[in-house]
């Protein structure tokens, strides 16, 4: 009789196949990605002031896109997902796309709830994938492709990943409230990050603009003013919306997803090798786990429990 029969949350260790090198590389990549968002604060430290930064504009953007592109490239290009993960991504991604259609109510986008609950149910690796793929698909669907897409994909991916790192054990109340709080925080953070990377391009030469000559503290002050004037209201709608949706829908949706994980035998990072009896005798029963890992571990690399 098979031992593990429920989907277990995936630890960061199994996310990386247990390899320390991989873990390190992943962390570095994500930090680089974060730098791409925070570049207005980080850049002056690197360049030390440049007169003609107008010409740098497109080049900077290209560099940022390359950084994020690399992150996405590695995360999405790992392969070995298997039909179950792809099918889940497709169906959940479709829900994200469908939820984006009604349009925004002042920044609130219902598609976040999917990423939040699915990330929480299926783990951080899946959460990131869903965030990235779902955002990409909805961009395609509503015809909203542009240079902001990699930023959006990574940002929503991070929302999903974070949701997967939240506690999953314990009582339902703890789980739901933790997720709701995270949803609120993520709503603001997402907005702040998405504004931040484009802020310098949008506001050159005004009182709230970025300047490569200014110190990080000055830039921060400028940015906060800009943020308060533009994005804060939207982000509040989003954050509050996320929180409310989690409180209202979190438990039933998580219940459904947990059941689906059980039914699909999602052994996330569990024992993955089938041991077929070469000539099974009538007496011997073969206990079979799903041989292909659903998410995360690269193909061919055995994943330890």
């Amino acid at each position: 009789m098979s031992a593990a029969t429920t989907a277990r949350p995936m630890s960061v260790r199994t996310l990386t196949g247990g390899s320390r090198l991989r873990a390190g590389a992943l962390i570095v990549l994500n930090v680089v990605g974060l730098m791409a968002f925070l570049w207005p604060f980080a850049l002056p430290a690197f360049t030390g002031g440049n007169e003609n930064h107008h010409a740098d504009g497109p080049v900077i953007l290209l560099v940022l896109l390359v950084c994020l592109g690399t992150l996405l490239f590695v995360e999405l290009g790992r392969g070995g997902m298997g039909p179950k993960a792809v099918a889940l991504l497709g169906v959940l991604g479709a829900t994200m796309v469908a939820l984006r259609l009604p349009g925004f109510v002042a920044g609130f986008s219902a598609m976040f709830i999917i990423v939040l609950v699915a990330g929480n149910a299926f783990g951080p690796s899946f959460g990131f994938l869903l965030g990235a793929v779902g955002t990409f698909a909805s961009g395609l669907f509503i015809g909203g492709l542009g240079p902001w897409l990699p930023f959006q994909m990574v940002a929503v991916g991070w929302v999903g990943m974070g949701a997967g790192l939240l506690p999953r054990t314990g009582s339902w109340r703890v789980r739901i409230w933790a997720l709701a709080a995270y949803g609120v925080a993520a709503g603001y953070l997402f907005g702040a990050l998405m504004n931040l990377w484009s802020w310098p391009f949008l506001t050159t030469g005004s009182a709230v603009s970025w300047s490569p000559d200014a110190t990080a503290a000055e830039n921060l002050r400028h940015y906060l003013t800009f943020y308060a004037a533009t994005s804060f209201v939207w982000d509040t709608f989003r954050a509050v919306g996320n929180g409310v949706l989690v409180l209202v829908l979190g438990r039933p949706l998580l219940g459904s997803l947990d059941r689906a994980a059980r039914r699909m035998r999602l052994e996330v990072g569990g024992d993955m090798n089938v041991t077929p009896a070469p000539s099974a005798t009538r007496e011997g029963a073969v206990d079979v786990e799903d041989p292909a890992p659903v998410l995360g571990a690269p193909r061919g690399v055995p994943v330890g429990r």
């Binding site: 009789m1 098979s2 029969t5 039933p252 219940g255 059941r259 059980r262 035998r265 052994e267 089938v274 077929p276 009896a277 070469p278 000539s279 099974a280 009538r282 007496e283 011997g284 029963a285 073969v286 206990d287 079979v288 786990e289 799903d290 041989p291 292909a292």
Partner: protein, 522 residues
Amino acid sequence: MTEALRVDAVSFRYPDAARPALVDVTLEIEEGTFALAVGPTGAGKSTFLRVANGLVPHFTGGSFTGRVLAAGRDTLAYPPRALADAVAFVPQDPGASFVLDRVEEELAYGMENLGVDPAHMRRRVEEMLDLLDIEPLRGRSVRSISGGERQRVAIAAALAAGPRILVLDEPTSQLDPQGAEHVFAALQRLVHDQGMTVILAEHRLERVAGQVDLALGFDEGRVTAGDPAAVIRRLAMGPPVARLGRLVGWDPVPLTVRDARRLAGALPARLHPVTPAPGDTRVELRRLSARHGDAGALRDVDLIVGEGEIVAVMGRNGAGKTTLLRSIAGVHAPASGTVQVGGHAPRPGIDAALCPQEPESVLFAETVAGEVAVTLKARGIDGVRPEAVLMELGIADLAAHHPRDLSAGQRLLVATAAIAAGQAPVLLLDEPTRGLDPEAKERLARFLRSHAADGGTVLFATHDVELAATVATRVVMLAGGEVIADGDPASVLGDSHVFAPQMTRAFGPGWLTPEQVAEALA
């Protein structure tokens, strides 16, 4: 002749399951056989089909004993993807299994996975389009084609990679009679002209029972393989001709209309029984016209239905059946004409309750009883216990189950209970027998009869001729949005070629059910 499928002492239990799904199954299916898996729901048919292509145990997990050789390959050593070029699998709802958008590309998907070179792929795609008679559909989106066409596309897509074994899970459960015909014709071609091995599981045996070479009777995980007549004879719920055979004591039972006629000889025309006059008028449609894109418009429909009637609304897809029901329910506004239920414009859900085509779209509670309780609460009905409603449908024993854990038939009964709990006098059901096993159908029929006997009114849209023959007091035929026939089942169904029940086909108009015929022969 070699074996296509060889099963040796296979037992299997799903993870977390109390009882095994398959118990000590041993059988052989030779190449070129047309095999049929029959038996009640939950007896192991679906599991067996998945054993043939390795989904059990690789996809599902669980505890597996024994050995299966599919096209000579051991399914324990070969996971499903390694068997993709040997065994083709078509699930019950092919629409959910499509991966790409255009038919042509969907056909090529399997071959892409197998690394077939593009030139060869092009040729195979053309062959499959011709073989399944779907060439006109090649550039269409899979979403835009009919149910029968979808099944054939799914079959073509599964076969494109070259397997010689085709496994289908209830291919015609969602189809209208024409669609089912096309699918069975295609399967016949595959077996007889191409020498393929076809294994299918079905509940609706009327059309297919007489065409198969081998039947596999499933009963609680155990399988008896043998001559179709013998196996089907043992079924509680077989096709009407087989049921007739059992009632009258024929052995072997007839499986086709022709066999039945030969065994019975001619029968006199059946006097149409006097149908009881309907009670007060409950539903009245006068010159109703309605517009609706896909579901079919209605044109100048006149209809009067009284208390105690059970009306079967029949017709092709797109004839307007769903629009009719929705108009009566009050959710579809008429373009002209009037709809009156109980003497006034229908209040949605209060005067007439509608059970939609996909009953699971209403299930969201944690327990079956809870599902019914939700409706009771929403309608403000006190003093009725959910269990009482469940008892009317014969599913009181399911009260504590999670609705999503149940079979398709049980889900329909739960949905019907949840909707009937609203105590609307008029009950509307849209295609209730889609994917339904005979036991659930029987329970539903009993419930509809008792609802009508209590003074309620029932209208249901269906393709299922046998259900109409058994339970309806009246049949209304729609075509192109107009009523083309309206009368008692014996005359309306007796008059139709496409919609005639098996007994009518065998013995003439007026004969609707095996029980009637058996009585006459006794």
